[in-house]
Symmetry: C2
Subunit: 199 residues, 2 copies
DNA sequence: GATAAAAACTAATAATTGTTAGTTTTGACA
DNA sequence: TGTCAAAACTAACAATTATTAGTTTTTATC
């Protein structure tokens, strides 16, 4: 009976993707059924197939849209002419902001991507690897320039990204922490872990 | 035909739990079927029910065993007479060691607990909250004593735990990083984020 | 070798899964 | 108002799910 009402700037497909995002985040991709997504919208499950091609396809769209945003930001930073620490601080702040503003979407790209079917799984993993390598290269350059302590670059990258990617799991539950306070505190902690003494 | 062969110091139930742990980690709890667990052991699915009472029960056992270990360690540290920073450093190292040595088990307790059925879900969440609160209290005491920078205690706790809990996702894939190097680098980064300048 | 318990099996359950086929309803424009 | 496509519907599918019941095999102990 009901129809999928497209919102202001979003197609019917976008409405489905958004409802699915919420459910995937709450229950996980495999534990979310098409019927649940349909019910959340107020429609029967088969109706969804007028707009999307499969459940896997929804996941694919979410994951690659997020990947594109992060990749785009990284590329922009790489091209800037600035100190390495300033670049890394901006990247950290970008990650935190994304996590706070779009945590459902980001969460899925970060936790549910392993349920992607091939060949998308391989593609996604490759992008992920590439992203982290380029971040590590940035840190290595920072060490060479004497801006950053002599850390193991890959360990530093993983530590920073893991710390940030964990945000959603606690920012959502219980009493929320003020986003600005969160961003400043966390950024400072992570930058202090990198910075050379006496700077 | 085949039988579940109990290993040296483990019952048949332990064998099932261990195989299930590996699969839950690899595919996630909802996406792992009892038939898969049975096949990994070399047995038919219904045979498992001679040793366990349900699929949920396996998850419950894993989650609460891990919770117990962490709770026990925290309690021991709380009772020690030592500087706060030393305590926190030992707790951080304990977490990293657990993550490296028993990452499959720890991963499940950290990522799949939301699939616990009630009332276990509520119990687990409560323990989790309590653990983090007590860690935050420790950090607050460190600030009062002048050992620790004036960070937001809860943000610090979440940052540290998230950083560590993310380890498995990258330590498993690609070329592994030497565990000792990892522990030292990561601990140092995190402690530097807490420590007051000039110490 | 007989006995009894432990642990495997086969067969079947009802429920749920993603998805397709075919049909009816809706809504915008002529 | 009639037309046509978009988008909803119902019915059904084969596959898979966790689990139970009932039966047979294995193993250890006498």
């Amino acid at each position: 009976m009901a129809k999928i009402i497209p919102s202001e700037n979003g197609s019917r497909k976008d409405v489905i993707t958004q409802k699915a995002t919420t459910l995937f985040r709450k229950k996980g991709f495999p534990a979310t059924s098409m019927r649940e997504i349909a019910e959340a919208i107020g429609v029967e499950a088969p109706s969804l197939y007028n707009h999307i091609s499969s459940k896997n396809d929804i996941l694919k769209d979410i994951c690659f849209r997020v990947a594109k945003q992060y990749m785009g930001n990284l590329r922009a930073e790489e091209l800037k002419n600035d100190s390495i620490l300033a670049k890394i601080e901006r990247i950290i702040r970008f990650h935190i902001t994304m996590m706070v503003d779009e945590y459902e979407t980001v969460y899925i790209a970060d936790h549910e991507w392993r349920h992607l079917p091939e060949p998308f799984l391989a593609d996604f993993k490759s992008q992920r690897r590439s992203y982290r390598s380029r971040l590590a290269a940035l840190i290595e350059e920072g060490i060479d320039r004497g801006e950053i302590r002599e850390v193991h670059p890959m360990i530093a990258v993983h530590t920073i990204l893991s710390a940030i990617n964990g945000i959603d799991s606690w920012q959502r539950s219980g009493k929320k922490i003020d986003p600005v306070l969160l961003e400043d505190n966390m950024t400072q902690m992570l930058i202090l872990g990198l910075q050379k003494k006496g700077r």
